[in-house]
Amino acid sequence: MQVNVKLFATLRDGRFKQEKMELGDSSKVFDVLEKCNLPLEEVAISMVNGRDVTNDHQLQDGDTLSLFPPVGGG
């Protein structure tokens, strides 16, 4: 299946802004993080088709997954 992965802010560094990713059936958000070499502590929130999900959320063909880093400074 194919999932549209969008990265935001610092997560784009050395990666990409948006990429269509081929994944095995029943892949989860975790699997995308691993494929992107993204440690858990670098992702604050994961959204699938505009809804926030946990990292064990199962992805479907055609989903858009958006990943955001924690932006905590003041």
Partner: protein
């Protein structure tokens, strides 16, 4: 014109109506954190004419603050941030009533710190404290405007009791990206201004687009995108 505003508020009109100006004058806003975001937020609230400000920060200025913190100057290094904020507000608008609290925010102190407060603005630099600030606000039935910056990036939103936006938005990733990116002057100023815009809308009863949502700001790409958390 029939409008009777003191000269210092005449240029707020008509963006802000006479009624809006009066509402701001009756409002009490707490600003938690008087650093990069906080300094700019406090400056704008003072000029807008918010009636009373509660300013909270346990820190003192040091040299590393000079790159971005509006209230930090070469002359006041070592001074407490809330004292500097008080002097600035008094110099800009002596009509603003002030309560300064030179302590770190603690969830247990919400009730004491936020007495008589109508709205809280988060200008903290810690994710875990921001989450606990939201809990404290919601326990007291107070809306919170939250904001964060990291290098070229920033975000902000508005959380009303029951929304729990901050807890959802910062569910993972305890270590903020700003630990790596630093914080040049531009992001705090921009994000602080946007936070003040949403705060004013809450106070004057206008629609608040960033409720149950957040604005993700990317100054490298000049992208401003709102994401909803319904």
């Amino acid at each position: 014109m029939g409008v009777q505003l003191p000269p210092r508020y005449q240029r707020n009109y008509k963006a802000l109506s006479v009624e809006d100006q009066a509402r701001l004058g009756e409002a009490t806003v707490a600003v938690v954190g008087c650093g990069g975001l906080g300094g700019n937020v406090i400056e704008e609230f003072a000029r807008l004419g918010v009636g009373r400000l509660v300013l909270i920060d346990g820190d003192r200025f040091d040299e590393t603050n000079l790159n971005r913190q509006l209230l930090a100057t070469e002359k006041n290094l070592g001074q407490s941030k809330v004292q500097a904020a008080k002097q600035r507000v008094e110099a800009v608008n002596s009509g603003v009533k002030l309560k300064i609290i030179g302590e770190w925010f603690d969830e247990d102190k919400g009730e004491e710190f936020f007495q008589g407060v109508n709205l809280v603005v988060d200008a903290l630099d810690s994710i875990s404290r921001r989450v606990s600030l939201e809990r404290a606000c919601h326990k007291l039935g107070l809306p919170l405007v939250f904001a964060g910056v990291a290098g070229w990036f920033g975000l902000l939103g508005v959380s009303f009791p029951g929304d729990n936006t901050v807890a959802r938005l910062f569910r993972g990733g305890e270590r903020g990206a700003e630990k790596v990116t630093g914080n040049p002057a531009f992001a705090p100023a921009i994000i602080a201004s946007l936070a003040v815009v949403e705060a004013v809308k809450v106070l004057i009863g206008r629609t608040v687009p960033l409720r149950k949502a957040w604005l993700q700001v990317d100054l490298l790409e000049m992208e401003f995108e709102t994401f909803s958390l319904e």
